[in-house]
Amino acid sequence: MPLVNNKVGDDCTLGTDKALVDGKAQVDSLIKVVACYRHLASCVGGCTDSLQLRDELRQTREKALKLSVSICNHLTSHLRNKSLPEGQRKEMELLWVAFSSSLELLHVDMCKVFNISDIFSLANTDALVQTGLQGGGSEVAARALSLPDLNLAPNPTLPAGLESQERSTMEQEISQMDHMIDDMEMKVNVMRWMVESHGSQHAEVLSSSDSASLALLSVDEEQPGHQPPCQRSHIHVLVLLFAVVLVAATLSVCIIFFT
């Protein structure tokens, strides 16, 4: 991420520096929330779909919307400010692009959830697809909402009106997003082709503590018949090592014996 280098500046630039940092932080958290929402959305319609999941979805959605409204206002006001210096403007535009892309992703996910919950109503749990998932998305939701622990009391009963109410809320939220997106495009003209990103093509590799799941994935592929060859190679190595040790031992014995 670009460092804010302007240490010297008048109030205006200082203000916008701070605004930049602020905006950056907000956009980052929006991206995080959108990512978590996607994970949660992928569970909808599957066997782990439940009221709790829907609730989590709703909460995540609300947070995302709140964030996006505030970022929208923030960025719009700054970008419409004609007296913004060039470097700052570029940074703002980058943020703007990131923001609008996250909004798009969120919009698509919301539409998908809306449609899937149409088909898979929670009242009929038999119809939920057996996808192989076991756990819910609580941890992901917790991450999204930045809460250390998500302790929701699951709602045992399913009031008949809840689903339709939820649906109408979703519809409203989706249309609200639509309007926001349209508004954004109207108010601020950011030319996408002029925006250059900072990052390199290949992001640095994150910690490889996830190699276990990678291994799981690859083992997944192989037939069980693959196991013996691996073990056989292990045995070969061991035998070789043993032979070397043996040779070393006999040599040392010989030396001792003959000296």
Binding site: K32, V44, E104, N115, V129, M184, G199, S211, L216, D220
Partner: protein, 657 residues
Amino acid sequence: MTIRNPLRDHGQRYRPRIACLKKAEKVLLEMQDLKTGVKSQPQRLVITTIPHAITGEDIIAWLADRFQVDTQEARSFGSMLVALGYIYPLQDHKRLVIKPDASLYRFQTPYFWPTQQWPVEDTDYAIYLAKRNIRKKGILEVHEQEHYNHLHKWMNHKWDFIVMQAKEQYRAAKERKKPDRVVFDCQERAYWVVHRPPPGTVSAMDYGLDRLIDPNADEAKTPDFYARIMIFTQQSIMRPRVKSSVSLGAVVKYCATYNNHDPFLSKCLPSNPWLTDDVTYWTLNMPYVEIPTKMRVERWTFSFAELLSDPRGRNDFRLFLKKEFSGENLAFWEGCEDLKWGEAATMREKAEHIYKTFLARGAPRWINIDGKTMEITVKGLKHPHRYVLDAAQTHIYMLMKKDSYGRYQKSPVFKETVKKAICPEEHHFTDAQLEQNAKKRRPSLSPIILRQMEQEQKAKMAANVDITQLCRFTTPVPHLAVYSGITDFPSANASPSLPFLAHSPACPSPISVALDSTSASERRVEAGEGEGEGNPAAQAPAGGNVSKSRMALSLHRLLKRGCTPATLFASLSPKCHSAAGTSSHIQPISPDQPSQALPRRIGNFFQIKVDIPPECRIYPIESEDEDEENRAASRGGVGAKEIICPWESLTPQNGTG
């Protein structure tokens, strides 16, 4: 954000309706039912077990049971479900087929279903690839790497976002429990195998072109929308209607006629190459094969169009017409086809050539069309286009169909062909032989070679064409321009003997010299029976470009010499028994040329319905100055030596070239 300006947005980005998806979804919902669906079992991995895995054989058995089909079809159906992305394989994830053994599959989560209204976004793909790259560098395959680079170039403005989103998704995934993480990874991977298949694989999501409008969106009820509906209904009312008994009768007749000839509905003799990998059928049915098969010959009797569309049939018909001395009809028809389907660059020359060869007065292979059609055609040739000869072509086609076709079917040529036609034995291959055949598969001839063969054929035919339909008063001459297409103008030595040709003692027939060098027209020698003068034939190879000035010069010379005017007969070569009546030769000579060869049958042939002044030119597309020149030259009353286009007389007055 995708830049969308609804007014000027002509990008096609909506997927067309793929109707099978909804049906596949229904089937899938039934399949995954715990009680009545496919039996699931847990998948045992190294450190964990994941439930809801199903085996391939179970899927196939369930499908066969549910839809009451045999296992082969159930297997294809299952493979289709996998190819569409509703079920994904756990082992060998890149091959989207159902294996009828204990290999494991799992149902895809609805979020990743390939349903209609959610297009597959490149942004998501970029995020997915970035995620995989983050997790372990170098894990991307070659085609994925290429996509990644491409996306990096095109989505550069949001690359920061993509990388950040990839990281966040990765971190969010880590929050989940391990088995769930594995499942989600498998799901996502399967989704992208379906929607971004490796190159060279056949993808079930290959749906063709994208649509301009969203087929799932409701259409806005604007005035335009209603106007469109109104136009559609009006046209529906005006559409000509046929009684269903008539149309159904036609369908039934067609089916009954072609039933035995359809390779799907009945046996294909000797064997269907697609099934048995044995190409005898194709070699026996090559376009220009010597001995056709019985089925092929039978098809020629179904309709005239069938006969003409089969190259071998057309050859046979041409042979028959040659014997009947009416080959110019077919040649004209072929010329028109050539004009219609040929290149635009050579269209003018082709049209001109056809006119000179077939349509003009005094043309060597004059065809017989009625005056009205001739008028239309000649008028159209002023500004030639592809379909200018359409009317004449249709006329000739109907003539051939009504007249010659019937006689052809009773002719000895056809009977001979029928007798010689072969009927191959059916093959009965054993399994081992089928495998052998499969191993011996070779690619067929390249289209380039086929085209060369075709052109050789054409050239051979052109060389062989014998304009023997000269009347008994004309002598066949070499250098007869045959209509054989604009590309080859062979000085085809069609007819051998020119008994009267070489005797041009004093006047070596400057016309012939002139005409030889030009491509103005073709002449026939008017060597009357009584003429001992030995008027040499004045021939000219047809086609090509005329050097008019030379023509004019030679004409002038001729006039000066005043010799052998009798040579200047642009005579005709009608078929002797054509409807035009007696064949005669044209005598477009001006009256002040007293030659004994003044034909007995002057121009009754050409005083047909075409009322064109005799001293006209024939070149339909000419330049003005050449006209002037020629006109001046011919004002000496020589008259048209070449076949001239009738409207050219207007050109000087019109002032248009």
